[in-house]
Symmetry: C2
Subunit: 68 residues, 2 copies
């Protein structure tokens, strides 16, 4: 499912930056338990929050969805 593929993708990108879930969630002003559940593929995340994550990772939405 797309929620799971999205979660795996952002986890990989966050890890590549060497930042903890907690630190990353804080940097984008997102609740850390909510963010963790997104990485775990549990959330039907909205486009506004998807954009927040792309901005936090410093990439475009197109890049964020690469391979998903």
């Amino acid at each position: 499912m797309v929620k799971e593929r999205f979660g795996q993708r952002i986890k990989k990108l966050r890890n590549a930056k060497g930042i903890s879930q907690e630190k990353f969630a804080l940097s984008i002003d997102m609740d850390r338990t909510y963010y963790a559940s997104v990485e775990n593929g549990k959330r039907n995340i909205s486009i506004n929050n998807i954009e927040k994550i792309a901005n936090g990772l410093g990439i475009t939405l197109e890049e964020l969805f690469k391979g998903i």
Copy 2:
């Protein structure tokens, strides 16, 4: 805002296929008034529905977000 850019993008892609809003919404089993409001940039659409639209357009999520 990203909701508006997304709406403009899907409208452009749908028009390029020469399909009406109504016909497209029907093809992806989405309420047509809801779909119209997404094209109008009014909805904080979720990833599940974003995927439905990509599938309906016959493109990847990466392609869907190109330039957004």
